[in-house]
Symmetry: C2
Subunit: 248 residues, 2 copies
C-alpha cells in the first residue's frame, strides 16, 4: 500500500511545473522500466505490484522499492491500461549550449507539439547517435508523460535545448543546415557535410520562413505515390532523414 503522500507525489509529477521544480519524472510499464533497469543509468524510486516483484525478486525490499496495490497503480498511472510498474527518475543535467558545437550531427525541430512524435524522435535520435536536439520554446516538454512513453529507455540519452531556434542556429555557425521541405534535393542524392544540422518542421506548419532562411540547403524525401499526398508525419520523416544521413 502506498501512503497518501506517495500517491500525491507521483501524481504531481504529471505536471510540467512540478517536474521542473523537482528535476524528476516518471516512466511506466514493464517494457520501458525493464529497458531502463537493464541499462546502467540508475533510478530514484521503483513502485510495483506484487505480480511484478514475484517476477523480479532482486528488487524486493530495497530501500527505494515500494509495493503498491492495483488500486494504487490505477490512481497514479497516466496510462489507460496501467502496467505493473513505475520508476521515478532524475532528469538529465542541463548541459551548456556550448557543448552542442562539438557534435557532428544535430537535430533541430521547429514547433513539434505532439508528445508521441517528440518521444519517437528522441528514440530515433538515440538510435542514430544524435545526442543533441535544438527546439523552439513552444515545443512539447521532453518529460511529458506521453513523450517519455514513446522515447522508452532513450529518454535521458538525448539532450534537448529549448529556446529561440533561429538564434541558436545563428550562434552555432559551425554546421551546414539542411532543411527538410517539400521542395529540395532528394535525400538520396544529398552529399551531407561532416558537420550537419538536420532541420525538421512541425506537424501542421512545416518550417517557419525565418528559420528556413538560415538553411544552407533544402532537402526532400522523394515520394513514389500516385495518390497525390504531400506530407509525412514529422516522426517518420525524421526517421527517414536520419537514416539517409547515416547511409552515406
Amino acid at each position: 500500500m502506498l501512503s497518501k503522500s506517495q500517491i500525491k507525489k507521483l501524481r504531481s509529477l504529471q505536471r510540467k511545473k512540478e517536474r521542473k521544480n523537482t528535476g524528476l519524472f516518471v516512466v511506466e510499464g514493464k517494457k520501458i522500466v525493464e529497458e531502463i533497469l537493464e541499462s546502467s543509468k540508475g533510478w530514484n524510486e521503483l513502485y510495483a505490484t506484487s505480480t511484478w516483484f514475484d517476477e523480479h525478486p532482486n528488487y524486493v525490499g530495497l530501500d527505494k522499492s515500494f509495493e503498491m496495490s492495483e488500486k494504487d497503480l490505477a490512481q497514479v498511472s497516466t496510462l489507460k491500461t496501467p502496467n505493473e510498474v513505475l520508476l521515478v527518475l532524475k532528469q538529465n543535467d542541463r548541459q551548456e549550449f556550448a557543448e552542442v558545437k562539438s557534435e557532428k550531427v544535430i537535430l533541430a525541430l521547429d514547433g513539434v507539439k505532439d508528445p508521441g512524435n517528440m518521444g519517437t524522435i528522441i528514440r530515433l535520435a538515440d538510435w542514430f547517435g544524435v545526442k543533441q536536439i535544438l527546439c523552439t520554446s513552444d515545443s512539447v516538454d521532453q518529460y511529458n508523460p506521453k513523450t517519455v512513453q514513446s522515447a522508452m529507455g532513450s529518454i535521458n540519452s538525448v539532450q534537448l535545448h529549448y529556446g529561440d531556434l533561429a538564434q541558436m542556429l545563428t550562434d552555432l555557425g559551425t554546421h551546414q543546415i539542411y532543411a527538410c521541405d517539400l521542395d529540395g534535393e532528394s535525400i538520396y542524392k544529398t552529399d551531407f557535410a561532416e558537420r550537419s544540422i538536420l532541420l525538421m518542421g512541425s506537424e501542421s506548419h512545416g518550417i517557419s520562413d525565418e528559420i528556413l532562411d538560415l538553411a544552407n540547403q533544402k532537402i526532400t524525401i522523394p515520394s513514389f505515390s500516385n495518390s497525390g499526398i504531400d506530407s509525412l508525419n514529422v516522426a517518420t520523416a525524421t526517421a527517414i532523414v536520419l537514416s539517409g544521413f547515416r547511409s552515406k
Copy 2:
C-alpha cells in the same frame, strides 16, 4: 441537427462488425477530410458543423452533406477533441490475392496490433509506392478509427490482405523475402531484388520463427547508439526500410 438514426449509424461504424457488414468507415477532422476531398476518390456522406460549412460553401446543400451541431459531433466522434467534420467513405473493394503477384514491392507485417502504427505504415506504404500489404489474421483492422486517423488520406490507397501470412508468402514464390531483424545485413549494403517483399515484425514479438524461416535474407537497421537500446518502433523501422529500398 442530426436525426437519432444518423447518430446511431455513425456510432455503429466505430465497431468492426458493423464496418464489415456495411463496407463503410468514417474519417474525422479537418486535415484528413480536406486531403480526401481534394483527391479524386469520392465519398458517401459528409457531416460538418456550421463553422466548417462557412469555410467550405461548395459543400453546402448537397444531397449527401449534412449540418450537425457541436453536440451532435461530440456524440458521434471518436476523438478526444472532435474537429468540425466527418466523412463516411466506402471501403476498398477486396482485390484478389492473385493481383499481389504483379507488384514489384510488397510489405508483409507479422502481428502489428497497434492501430496508430498500422495507420502510419499505410501512409508510408502509399508514400513509397507500395500498393499491397500482407498481414497475419491477428493484425489490427485497416478501418479501425485510430488506424484511419494515422493513415490520413492514404487509407484507401493501399490494399491489406489478412490471412495466413506463411501461406501467402509461400503461395507468392515470385519475390525475394527480406526480413527486418536484429541481426542481418545492413540495409545500407543490401542489394534488393527488383521483386522484393519487405517483412516486418510486431511491436513486441518481432517476426515468428515459422515466418522468418521463409525469408531469403535477414536485413537490419544499423544502430549508432551507445546507450544499449535494441529496438525501434515498427512504424519508424518500416519508414527506414522502405526508404532504404527506394534509395537504391
